[in-house]
């Protein structure tokens, strides 16, 4: 006997909200991406827990795909951040907005 599923889910929720906080509050594109990673990870935790709960391997299979998506997202995201950085000398998301409003496309 380990723990009830709900404890795992609560842990997952806590992680998710931390990641969300990171994404929403940090004025830094890299940290935002990091927050997204945390959230994806939290989802993975929940899936693994659910997989144990129902004794099904579907959950674990999903985690594989989550990993794939995370890898994809990070590689593209970091490349995009790099582009942004080269053009604006900054990784501040607010700078992006400022550019948008002036009609330029970052």
């Amino acid at each position: 006997m380990i723990v009830p599923l709900n404890h795992i889910l609560l842990l997952s929720g806590l992680l998710f909200s931390l990641g969300m906080f990171c994404t929403l509050a940090r004025r830094n594109l890299i940290m935002m991406l990091l927050g997204i990673e945390i959230m994806l990870n939290a989802a993975a935790v929940a899936f693994v827990g659910a997989s144990l709960h129902w004794q099904q391997m579907e959950g674990q299979a999903i985690v594989i795909f989550i990993l794939a998506v995370a890898a994809t997202e990070v590689s593209i995201g970091l490349a995009a951040i790099l582009v942004v950085y080269r053009r604006t000398d900054s990784v501040d998301p607010a700078m992006e907005a400022a550019l948008w409003e002036k009609g330029g496309r970052p």
Binding site: A25, R27, N41, A68
Partner: protein, 175 residues
């Protein structure tokens, strides 16, 4: 309370603490390192929850590949100055509010599920069994995921290429 339960709580504490530290670090290298710690914890958790293969992948991909990628980027861009305000209030407060709201909603929802309160037995899916299952049931999705990774590879290359065309210059002049 079995040893496994205790172990779970200890790991959970580790993960949450490490993640919280990572989220709040001003120095991004520190943040990434804390996050690596958190991912190690997650890997342990996966092992505990009966997914040894996933635990291995977690360490290899998340803690290894992805975080290293982050470190590369952080080192590449060499920020001259860190963004002015660490946590702008106008952004911090709504973010906290939303996160707290999410937490509240999710815990209420989770807590409202009565059958989730029974402790689960320990079990394990061996990597071999998992691999067989994955490739029997989800082979198409795996293929698609691999295609996705390929696309990501190409995309990252295209984006990251240093463009020395007129477009980059005009872009700078335009605003």
């Amino acid at each position: 309370m079995s040893i496994l339960t205790l172990l779970f709580y200890a790991i959970a504490l580790l993960i949450v603490a490490a993640t919280a530290m990572a989220v709040t670090r001003r120095n991004m290298v520190h943040a990434v390192l804390y996050l690596v710690l958190s991912f190690f914890g997650t890997a342990m958790l996966f092992y505990l929850l009966g997914a040894p293969f996933l635990a291995a992948l977690e360490i290899i991909i998340y803690a290894g590949a992805i975080m290293v990628l982050f470190l590369f980027l952080i080192m590449m861009i060499r920020l001259k100055k860190l963004p002015g305000m660490f946590f702008p209030v106008g952004q911090l407060l709504p973010a906290i509010f939303i996160c707290a709201g999410f937490l509240a909603v999710s815990s209420v929802l989770v807590g409202g599920n009565p059958e989730g309160w029974t402790p689960m037995p320990a079990a394990q899916a061996s990597p071999a069994a998992f691999g067989v299952y994955l490739f029997q049931t989800h082979w198409l999705a795996v293929e698609i995921a691999s295609m996705l990774l390929l696309v990501a590879l190409v995309g990252a290359y295209v984006l990251g290429r240093r463009v020395r065309g007129p477009s980059a210059d005009t872009r700078k002049e335009a605003p």
